[in-house]
Amino acid sequence: MTMHSSRADNHTWRKIMNALASATTFVSALLVIAPLGLIFFHLLANGASSVNWAFFTHLPKPVGEAGGGMVNAIVGSLELLAFASAIGIPIGVLGGVYLAEYGTARANALLRFVADVLNGVPSITFGVVVYGLVVLRFKGFSAYAGGLALGLIMVPLILRTTEEVILLVPNGYREAALALGVARWKTIVYIVMKTASKGIITGILLALARVGGETAPLLFTAFGNRFWNHNLSEPIAALPLQIFTYAISPYDDWHRQAWAGALVLVTGIFCVNVLVRILTRGRTTSAV
């Protein structure tokens, strides 16, 4: 009898603990989702009214004049991302392929370590380095410097994701191609990288989404510009920089535009992430 009742106690106790555990995890899950919901809600509430045609087509108005837009910052951001991609994608992808397919174990361990450290370095550091190497040397802020800073941030991100997805390609495909007398580099490019292409593109998109919102590395490289940039060796506007400038200004109208800019930026990044989800659909079944 005593045994029975203690068992029943145990059972109740376990039930309570179970309920507590699932409640805790549920709350934690909510806390994960809540910030995204809050951010979107706030951006919509404050910025939606200012996202209009003029926002996408007009230059900023001088201080004191209402209206205007951020077209130069939007285009500037795209230019910076294009320039960053030109640096970050080839180096990152080729480096990732090298790590996965070539190299000695020791050199690769070192490279991986360096890439992981770089991925953890605060992004402003990249800005400082480019400031020292490029801005000071060429005596001026420029689109080149901004793109370079973003590109350098992209390299280790792309490198690691590329390596990961290349390693996921089953060895049987490499062997099948090599057994046809196909050269090693062709096997890697046309068989291995092609098989892993979705994963590689996913890595690139995630890196773009990450640097697309970076502000700190642009502060003393791209610098920002209230007008069109006609020369890549001159300062250039970028959406995050413009948001920053407008948000710390004392003007209500600029504040509204900063909200609108943030809404556009977050929506853009959100779209890239949706694209990534679409690309990686069914990834569990096809490995890559």
Binding site: G172, L180, V182, A183, T187, T195
Partner: protein, 282 residues
């Protein structure tokens, strides 16, 4: 036929080809040989996987390699087209002659060896990003063939030889991985045949297939030997008995016995061979 070496062949090799009679103890004219394997040993690092194996592989015949798991069948097979080199720290001693040319001579490009000696793997591995048609001609494509008419002809010819044409001719654009297991394996055979090798190596090509698919591949192997020299690894005694002309029994990296399949299966000269074939071990 592509020559392995552009320069004139190694004199030692030529000398060898000129006296093939010595290789066969019978008084009949020696059958033409595709491979002559001479005192080959293979190491993975410190571990010796093949120990001093010498045997000749006849042309236009099926040679089966049998033996218990881990005895070195795959290693031996892969040394015939230098695929084992993909594993780091492997080492080969001895000589492997393909039509009299030393495969391991320093002037030989392993890619050319593999074009002459094709391979089909245990697990079928059609490229998942490619259609059935692309899978077949990818070897030619990546080896620089551009002529679309030629590629189309070779596509049909290879699929016909692999006894797959009638089943897939209307679905050439579909993904290679959409086929059944047996069809995928025949697709891999077609892919290997498309580069027109002289030899086809098969490493347990049926071990993942059901009996009906297996029977199809066996029939195919029988038909292909008219044009190709085939070396196949098998785990399955009955299969070796059905499809092969010659059988080599490997045990712990050593060649225990080699001879005509009829002799090995009915009257083996080694006790170990008999024990293995009758299922007493392995």
């Amino acid at each position: 036929m592509v020559n392995l070496i552009m320069a004139s062949p190694d004199p030692a090799v030529v000398e060898h080809v000129e006296r093939p009679a010595e290789l066969s103890p019978t008084t009949e004219p020696a059958p033409p040989l595709t491979f002559q394997v001479k005192n080959v040993s293979i190491w993975y690092g410190e571990k010796r996987a093949i120990d001093d194996v010498t045997l000749d592989i006849a042309s236009n015949a099926v040679t089966a390699i049998i033996g218990p798991s881990g005895c070195g069948k795959s290693t031996f097979l892969r040394c015939l087209n230098r695929m084992h080199e993909l594993v780091p720290k492997t080492r080969v001693e001895g000589r492997v002659l393909l039509q009299g040319e030393d495969l391991y001579s320093s002037t030989v490009d392993p890619a050319i060896v593999r074009r002459r000696v094709g391979m089909v793997f245990q697990k079928s591995n059609p490229f998942p990003t490619m259609s059935i048609g692309e899978n077949v001609i990818i070897g030619l494509r990546l080896n620089g063939v551009r002529n679309q008419k030629f590629l189309n002809e070779r596509l049909e010819k290879s699929l016909r030889m692999a006894a797959l044409w009638d089943e897939v001719k209307d679905d050439l654009h579909k993904s290679g991985t959409s086929l059944s297991g047996g069809q995928q394996q025949r697709l891999c055979i077609a892919r290997a045949l498309a580069v027109e090798p002289e030899v086809l190596l098969m490493d347990e090509p049926c071990s993942a297939l059901d009996p009906i698919a297996t029977a199809k591949i066996e029939e195919l192997i029988y038909e292909l030997k008219a044009q190709y020299t085939i070396v196949t690894v098998t785990h399955n005694m009955q299969q070796a008995g059905r499809i092969s002309d010659f059988t080599a029994f490997l045990y712990m990296g050593r060649l225990i016995e080699f001879g005509s399949t009829t002799k090995i299966f009915t009257n083996p000269s080694q006790k170990q061979t008999e024990d293995y074939i009758t299922g007493r071990f392995g």
